[in-house]
């Protein structure tokens, strides 16, 4: 977990950019008494958003759609993994 300052340093994004992303709910930091907390997953997610905008050339509308689809994909992958795990569950020794 890192605070907002460390997060900005690690992701190399500007404060106003971060605020927009949080407003769009692309990032949802945990609200703690001492401020916001960001996980390693949030850092990686911010880098993904940066890649989408800078490298792939997605505009803000498209980034929201892409993130939503990726989140669905991971939800689906998680559900599929649970199914496969149950199916492949080893019998007790």
């Amino acid at each position: 977990m890192v605070d907002r300052q460390q997060f900005l340093v690690r992701t190399r994004i500007e404060t106003h950019v971060l605020e927009t992303w949080i407003e769009e709910e692309w990032l949802i930091p945990r609200r703690e008494a001492g401020g916001e907390e960001f996980s390693d997953a949030d850092v990686a997610r911010a880098q993904l958003i940066r890649d989408l905008k800078a490298d792939i050339g997605a505009n803000d509308e498209a980034v929201g759609v892409i993130l939503h689809l990726i989140d669905q994909l991971h939800g689906l992958r998680g559900a599929l993994r649970d199914v496969l795990r149950q199916r492949g569950a080893a019998p007790p020794d």
Binding site: D55, I70, D71, Q72, H74, L76, R77, G78, A79, P92
Partner: protein, 296 residues
């Protein structure tokens, strides 16, 4: 790497890079392990070519293609995937499959995955410890199934250690209307306090008193089916082996093996003045040398 000619303009490079990045970005290919390596190579080539100074040195042969690498990036999919041990992904949502949950997701998934038709369920192996006497005489033992229920398994008389019993239909359910698999129960026969078993025969070391050994007589002997009387001959020594016919484990043909009783002479646990006085005056006892065969 980017597939652009040496003379490519900055615009052409960016276009080529974006095209590949769209295809290869690991977070857009969460299940493709090779995508990450390829993406890194492409990104590294792009870094190199989009910096005019680096590009000049690359074109001049001063640095190689990996000369400009990005700081290592931890891709989001690593956290979002919820792999072994990873926590829940707070961003993940069920919009992609919520409607499927109304159906039997298991069967619908596998119907989709195996169009070839019904497939039998897999067998499940169990390990079942069995009491020694239950294995010799037959009986039942309880198996806990993965779903929390239990079933009583009939243990055939004479069951052996390592024997596998098959429980028809107690394996995993079949897919697409296929037969369920079987439960395969491997027996592990537990050791007994004083019986041991070799094949269908039971072996027992039986302590006898000095008086019983010297004088012989009827004694009670435990067998797997209860105690029986056995006649000990006069002057029976330690190591004497007596056979109780038909008191062993049940054979496949229904008859039983034998029980072999090996005697072990036990002196009284307390010293006995009367016995000591007798042995002192017993000249034949002093002349006996049981170790004569070991000398020389």
């Amino acid at each position: 790497m980017l597939g652009v000619p040496r003379s490519a303009t900055a615009d052409q490079i960016q276009k080529a890079y974006r095209k590949l990045a769209k295809k290869l970005h690991p977070d857009l290919n969460p299940g493709n392990a090779a995508a990450e390596e390829q993406f890194k190579e492409v990104a590294s080539a792009n870094d190199l070519l989009s910096d005019p100074e680096k590009r000049r040195r690359f074109d001049a042969g001063e640095i190689d293609a990996s000369g400009a690498e990005r700081p290592p990036q931890q891709f989001y999919r690593r956290y979002a995937g919820g792999g072994a041990g990873a926590g829940a992904n707070p961003y993940a949502n069920d919009s992609a499959y919520a409607d499927l949950m109304d159906e039997d997701i298991l069967s619908s998934l596998f119907r989709g995955a195996r169009q070839r038709g019904p497939a039998p369920g897999r067998d499940i192996r169990y390990h079942l410890p069995v009491d020694f006497l239950t294995a010799v005489n037959g009986g039942t033992a309880r198996v806990g199934l993965p779903d929390g229920s239990t079933i009583d398994v009939a243990i055939p008389a004479g069951a052996r250690d390592g024997q596998i019993l098959s429980l028809k239909g107690k394996g995993e359910p079949g897919a697409g209307g296929g037969e369920p698999g079987d439960g395969l129960v491997e027996l592990e026969v537990q050791p007994h306090r004083f019986f041991t078993r070799e094949g269908d025969d039971i072996h027992l070391t039986l302590p006898v008193s000095l008086a019983e050994a010297v004088l012989g007589g009827e004694i009670k002997v435990p067998t797997p089916t209860g105690a029986v009387s056995m006649r000990v001959p006069k002057a029976a020594n330690s190591g004497t082996r007596l056979r109780l016919k038909g008191k062993g484990a049940v054979r496949p043909d229904g008859r039983r093996g034998d029980e072999y009783v090996t005697l072990k002479v036990m002196l009284p646990s307390m010293s006995d003045p009367e016995l000591e006085a007798f042995v002192k005056n017993w000249s034949a006892g002093k002349a006996q040398n049981p170790r004569s065969g070991m000398e020389g």
